[in-house]
Symmetry: C2
Subunit: 188 residues, 2 copies
DNA sequence: GCCGGCGCTTGATGTGGATCAAGAACCTTC
DNA sequence: GAAGGTTCTTGATCCACATCAAGCGCCGGC
């Protein structure tokens, strides 16, 4: 359980008293490989920290799927925009491997924002990090070609190639599996 | 000046005492049409609210520019990731029309986060909104073709077409000016 | 008011990556 | 361990969009 506290304390310090308020709201949730954690069209009630496993976040679009992100140990997982706006999610989240998440419900988190100021700040810092990640990804999409994006990925997250299907990586890099396969052969 | 207070109070209420603390840190900055507000490589020290004018946010990439966003009346303006991380900006911001911004420096804003809890929350709410906007834009890029993205833009922001060059809109929609021109002729 | 330049349009041509297709190497399941 | 499905690879074809090119119109500066 202290994974949650450790993760939060990467951003803000919590007193034991504050932790005592925060802790009860988090609960573990387990998903077998392949299970859907959030389906398109459902409102996302959870915000989660990944204890183990890999999940993929993707958009469905007339029959096909486009991967927009992955989550794994120590990162957060969920569909933040649906969580915040309480509108049906346009993204789906699926367990790529057996996964354990620690999750908090929306009402509980927003309650904590009101009662524990450190958590309000934590929310801000998490969002800053997410936004920076988005900006970085946008820059990559704009300034790097397919091969450079691939090289970047294997440099930053070499383990991903072992963990998730190449077709998911391909769609994450915005290309077809065929193009990805040829790229790998070429780059060797 | 009350534009700033009104804008902040769209998210959180401020007592007069809090406003008295917050207000002195905001200052107006004027830019003539064409002026750079932030250059690539500079660290962004400001977070701004637009009082008037239109600005474009773009990435430079071997000689050409790709527009990634616009800001106008009532929206915020700046390069948030450089602002937060104090690293050189990979984006540039330029005044498309004569512009007046109300701006606060990073140190001042982070000071307010510590002294005025409502501002900490404001920071979180602003970021939530920004992140939702990013998610929406990402979905659009993935699920809509060029023509649908164009229709979406003229539906949501018809005034933009009058205000900014078509080549900027074209790059915002991820196409060349030629393709955009042909699209407009075709769509009528 | 004239000149120069940039932005927009329109046409001709080229190409990177998508699509279609088929076979091989896998996991998974019974 | 055989059967069936999925994923990956490799080849052939195709096409949307980029690129190249030329002409026009508008605006700003002197």
């Amino acid at each position: 359980m202290s994974l949650v506290r450790r993760t939060i304390e990467r951003y803000v310090k919590l007193t034991d008293a504050e932790w005592a308020v925060v802790a009860p709201h988090w609960q573990p949730r387990d998903f077998p490989k392949g299970a859907f954690i959030t389906r398109t069209g459902e409102v996302e009630p959870w915000f989660s920290i990944v204890e183990q496993g890999v999940q993929r976040l993707f958009v469905e679009h007339d029959g096909s799927e486009v991967c927009v992100g992955f989550a794994y140990d120590g990162s957060w997982s969920g569909v933040y925009d649906s969580f915040v706006t309480r509108t049906p999610s346009r993204f789906a989240v699926q367990a790529v491997t057996d996964s354990r998440l620690w999750s908090i419900r929306r009402e509980a988190l927003y309650g904590l924002y009101d009662t524990v100021p450190a958590m309000d700040r934590w929310g801000r810092l998490i969002l800053e990090e997410l936004l920076i990640g988005r900006a970085t990804r946008e820059i990559e999409q704009l300034t790097l070609d397919a091969e450079a994006r691939y090289r970047n990925l294997i440099r930053r997250s070499p383990h991903l190639l072992q963990l998730v299907a190449q077709k998911d990586i391909a769609s994450y890099l915005r290309m077809t599996p065929e193009t990805f396969s040829r790229l790998r052969a070429r780059v060797r």
